[in-house]
Symmetry: D3
Subunit: 339 residues, 6 copies
């Protein structure tokens, strides 16, 4: 089984621990980005994963490629060119203080790559799944066009296509998002969203949901999934359900809706080490479950367990094996020493 | 609006993370001290803040000045002389293990500065507020005298004067504290205290309060505030209410008493990154609120939100903007990623 | 009062913070091992402690000796020879992700030391107590034999002998453990076990106990202690009761059973910094209490308080004084700053 | 005495020690840039220094401002706006391996600031000196225009104007440089250049000089200075003379040419800690000397001593006092412990 | 072009900077080993490189595989099994203090791998070159046998075979080495040795050479190469010539002898960052030169330049591109900043 | 053989690498002080070493004791009391920038210990040698008196007494030093001095010596030694000869004068890692040589080799074995890897 993802991989610059930006003159420097995170997760699960992007032909771009290669992600169709690696600055929140992200990703190699720069047909040959997120088309008109080319090519090649809506207000407005994403949805089979996305992108809202207050309503989410399915004909809709008690404590669960039925996962009270990439690791879990033919409940339990564990891992990438996710999904959340 | 504070700024030497003293041969080396912390907090809130102290004319003293200047605190009336920068060693507690402070602040420049060394009149010109804590007069007979000179000069210049009682048993006895602090109280308009101070300094106790056990009683605190007000004629009394569940988990709130009425803030369950300076950041919040003419409730909510956030910040200084404190006071404690 | 322990001290290689193995190219490198941990704990409590082991005659072995010496543990009867210092790799768990231990301790100096290599008679001269764990005889046939020689010599010299069963499935099977441990039990006065040991080693189980789920049953443990006492004639049986809510949150308590009576300690909800060595610090607490003639309840309260505090300390060694343990046992768990 | 500089301050991201880019996932994150470095140097020498630039209104921009303020540099006329803080990645060379710089400074706030964005007239009021480098006009057409506006305004306000040619081949071609710089030179009184600049920018070459081979010829440099003086009517020309033996070992000296005479400084064999900013610290030394009315020889000796010491300091900024530079210029290069 | 190497990759545990072993409780943890180093070097030069070894099926073994994969080395024929990853502890020397290596590599997966465990025939299919060192057969009788199988298979498959004698006195005696290595030499085309190896392994000595004193004699080395060639029929003999002035300062050069002629390289005075792996990077340079058909002088200049640069790189691996080595070989040793 | 030393052990706070004071908010925190350094050195050489001092009864004092104990130094006669551990801040120099020491050692436990606080008679029982430095009597009138008591007691107990003059201008004037030291010299058998001490303390100068310029004259030093011997009747005078080329490069050698003859050691060009404690490690070498009955030349060669190696070790303590010093004295200064 092989999955391909397309999007941006950024240099992530984060102060150590819970320091504020530049409280000390040092940044943790790792790499991350929605679709890259999914590719790495899938590779850890044992899926053949390929990541397509554009990176400049300098040492920072090369380091991004090497990092992906380390996890076994295929990188041979990454286009080298353009001017810069996109950056995001991340300050980890703590207790009542929220995490903070500053984007410095404009003019990156992928954002400026001309439509048609990528050989998707080749990448999709022999592949089963294509995944992208709503961040990629938000980067520039060029990436929107390239994403469309990718989605079309994937459909033509017979792949299952998934999209994580992933709305980012710093990248585009709801209006822009809606216009672009609507066009893309026709190629999408599996739609993933968190508690805000469907609302912000398509104006589809779960009744009785107060996102900031962290209250979630099951029926509301089923309704959202139904509406999405009716509007775009999705095969499945997956929704992550995050209750944010504080920057340290969240309750994490999800719903998978398909064939008119919703499966809700167990809820995990997570004490957070690093929550960035949580949604991406969930997407990877859904893809893994569906690729392996897991049923609805088993798929959502696997995906939530895998992404629950992501919250205990530093960095965007989910350094978790399928066996570890299965062990947790199977009920062992005690965190006892394995020795 | 301008506020002036007077006191000691120390070198703070703390092991990394939760290590015990010298478990590894390394100290985090930052600066802090009650009144310096208040000045930095106020500067972060956008108030013109000046800090008056004495520091030796060496590189360690210079580093303290530069650190203050970085935050925009005015340092031009800091007297350079004397022999040493005071030090406090801090070991962070964890779970049931308490934090530990070792003072090595005797013979510091400020503790040995002769009465009259500071040009308070100049510092207070154009200023609105003067703040000091009970730590400064505890340092030595000289600083007690200098604090008295400052308080008098502030009153004469028409400033509002606030004092955080801040009793420290390692610096003086209750008897010494009472004798010195009583004299100072006549110049004080706003008195801040934590759950032990009023008792230890003036023998005024909240009935039914068991400090070690962490139980707090609202009526008791109102009574304490009343007694303080009656005895010293304060315009306002602010009390921080800390329930210590463990070194990691506290519940934080406060009361502001004025004009015969008490306003109690929301309670925040904080998972602590660094609690040193929590009281100081609360003082800064009270000063900010009163300088801006906030009402009683808004003032205490702002001050508690600001100091709640302090618990998520490494170091003595509260690196929080007024906007961030207001956002929390406004109800968003979910700690969600801002991106 | 003097206590002697015999066993392996290993180099402990652990990533920083909550990183996974080699996520960054760096290991915290400290030393630890069941019996060494007990010796260090006892030395911190003011007991004359000696540790007997074998270490290679190279700089790594020397560093282990120096580390013990630093804590005041007597090291003069450590045999220098053999090929290597045993290693254990430790990855700290977080939230639902379990901690992970990889042993690389085969062929270590102690595991390959010939029977009779150690002068136990000399070590026991003037001593009151001998302690070992079930890990040492599990290392190799040679160490099993050496442990037997030690236990016999201790009994002959009139020492009280304690053993922490400490079953490790990566070192031997239950069958092997049972066969070897049974022989040793005849010399043992005080037996310590955690929730799994009695079951895994001797097939003695607490009814109604679900270890993974973290549920514990008081009567079941009393029954286990009774069975152990009846079978081996122990003077006392101590059992640690750990409820594992997650890798971060445990509830910690213990039972001490002697003269047909069980004393249960207070329960402490611990937010974990480092739980490795928790059981060893409990053993040291029991030994300290019994050496000092504390009664059953006082002993178990001291031991649990000391080991509760261990969970807040980085590394295997419990850097806690008897006074600190007594303060917690006495009721102050508020974690308030001591200054 | 007051000096003003105008240019870009960048975030400098450098691996620790002699690691290659991203060999470990960590960057030292400091700030630097030609004109900012000069401003900081001058402030350390006791000169009233102001730095004018544009920085985005986010936490990274704010950190740059705070860093400057820490050194006492005036920052009140820094324009806040635009999209990003420019970045340069720096990999320190070692032995035969050269240092490497990757620029990611396009689209920075200063590069995109419209002509006329800066209130130079106000900045120059009461000032004595204006300094810029050839890097600033190379950033964009807009900064070229802004630099021209600054130079004119400085001349009009009666300031002495200095320019460090600082040719950067990654920013523009020799042709572009020549065209733009020629226009600016009419406002310049003091020109600073290293061994390549005059050649690359104006085609003026020191005969017999082999830059890569590190051989320098005194007469050649005098000739270059003469040619520059004749062509642009400079009051003084200063040239740094760097013999690069390896990335670790350089021989450092300089020439100051004025009134038809050349003064050559002592030569310092430097073992390099960090050579970035060496030229900037030299400029600051020349400005300091000329502002203080030092004669030609004293000026160049001071400037070379100050910049020699820069090579021993981590980061772009020269954390050296005038007294330290004077002590070295006075002959004490022994590096003996001062205690 | 493809090259295959076979040998051990170890975990390298080194204190930071110039600290002695466990002076601080921390190790840099990277990977290295003669043949792995060569494979990584070749991959950096753009050669298709494959590394064959055995590693245990645990996270430490997996980390070794990932590190190799990061550099683009093919790892698909690495056998997973056995008990442990070999370790070497490295303490960097400084000035007159020598570097120190402690081996803890016994019983490693490769040392205990049965003869015939590796599918060399498959690895050599389509390959041009096979390289091993004298360390591999020294590990155990099994690896000696496996090395012999590899060398034979390589010859049969028509590959060029190179061997770096690399005598290690801690692994075997000269007698053992001679006996085993002699058998292997019949399959070797290119022999690499440092100043001691030929003497220690085959008793072939350069007259007038005093290794400890660091004096080298050109004619002596030619003579050694001649003797080696005559005795074993090598196509080429390469000798690294290291003059050890101190742990910090070496003079580095080499000789390549073939067709009865010797080419000596330039001499580089290196100020050392990390000299481990210097010889391996030289081997990779020789292989690269010969694979590319460089002449004798060009080959030795490339190999010496590449390995000269290795001395400036932390860790065993030579993170240097062919272009960088060529630039140095071409004469630019000035270490000037590339920007 | 047993040696006793008496003096102060301080907390040494130093920035990492070559950073200036508080350039980053972190200090390396180790311990050091002339006589403690000598005791540690001797313990590393295998001599039974005891250190006598006073330290406060807090965790910082305890850490100092533990650090000494780690090296095997006997600490049982250290008096616990007083207020503080003395501190010295150390900034390492680099190239032409000198190292810098700021003392904050006033009011330390030893400086305020009453005369008669120490039981020297007990410490000297069974001992062969007593060593102190000119720093101890310079701390306060009390320590001067205590040092006198120690020297007398040592003489009475038949020990050989050595003193390193170690003049520190920040502690006392030449006049004060001369007055106090003269009294002490009557008990001294072996006097150690560096190039400035004899001059600064007793006005005895080597003709033709220019200390700052780093030029040393052999005959001058012989003359100084003669004068010292004549004036105070020393059995031996040892002089370290340091040529300071820069903060990085020194040439290190020494002279030992006794029985009217001078032995000069080899000269070592050292590239410095940490030079603090260089003189102390030399003293330890002289004591070791004389205790072992080495002849004059062998003694000075051993002492210089040991202290040459000190320059390669981080921290005050010389972590060098006698075997390592002997190997260097024996001629192997090549710094080759030992493996």
């Amino acid at each position: 089984m092989k999955a391909v993802t397309f999007g941006e991989i950024m240099l992530r610059l984060a102060p150590e621990g819970y320091l504020r930006f530049l409280q000390e003159p040092r940044f943790q420097a790792t790499f991350g980005g929605g679709e890259a995170n999914v590719a790495v997760s899938l590779a850890q699960f044992g899926i053949d994963a390929e990541f397509v992007t554009a990176l400049p032909d300098n040492d920072i771009g090369e380091a991004a490629v090497r990092e992906l290669r380390k996890f076994g992600v295929q990188t041979s169709r990454i286009v080298r060119g353009g001017e810069r690696v996109g950056i995001y600055y991340l300050e980890k929140g703590a207790s009542q203080r929220a995490s903070k992200v500053i984007y410095d990703r404009k003019y990156s190699s992928i954002a400026t790559a001309k439509p048609g720069s990528f050989d998707f047909a080749a990448a999709f040959s022999g592949a089963d799944w294509f995944h992208f997120t709503g961040i990629t088309p938000a980067l520039s008109a060029e990436t929107a066009e390239n994403t469309l080319l990718a989605a079309k090519a994937a459909k033509e090649a017979g792949l299952t296509v998934s999209c994580d809506l992933n709305y980012r207000k710093n990248l585009w407005s709801s209006e822009q998002a809606c216009k672009t994403m609507e066009k893309l949805m026709q190629y999408v089979d599996v739609c993933v969203a968190n508690e805000e996305d469907a609302d912000k992108v398509f104006g589809i809202r779960a009744r009785g949901t107060d996102v900031t207050g962290g209250k979630l309503d099951r029926d509301g989410y089923i309704e959202v999934a139904k509406q999405l399915t009716e509007r775009f004909g999705f095969r499945a809709v997956a929704v992550t359900l995050r209750e944010s008690l504080s920057a340290f404590d969240n309750v994490w669960s999800a719903m998978l809706y398909s064939e008119g039925e919703a499966a809700f996962s167990k809820k995990y009270p997570v004490h957070i080490v690093d929550r960035v990439g949580g949604g991406d690791s969930f997407c990877a879990g859904v893809i893994y479950g569906m690729l392996n033919g897991f049923d609805r409940q088993k798929t959502v339990e696997f995906a939530v367990a895998a992404s629950c564990l992501k919250h205990s891992i530093e960095g965007d990438f989910n350094r978790i094996s399928a066996a570890e996710a299965e062990k947790l999904a199977g009920g062992d959340a005690s965190g006892r020493v394995v020795r």
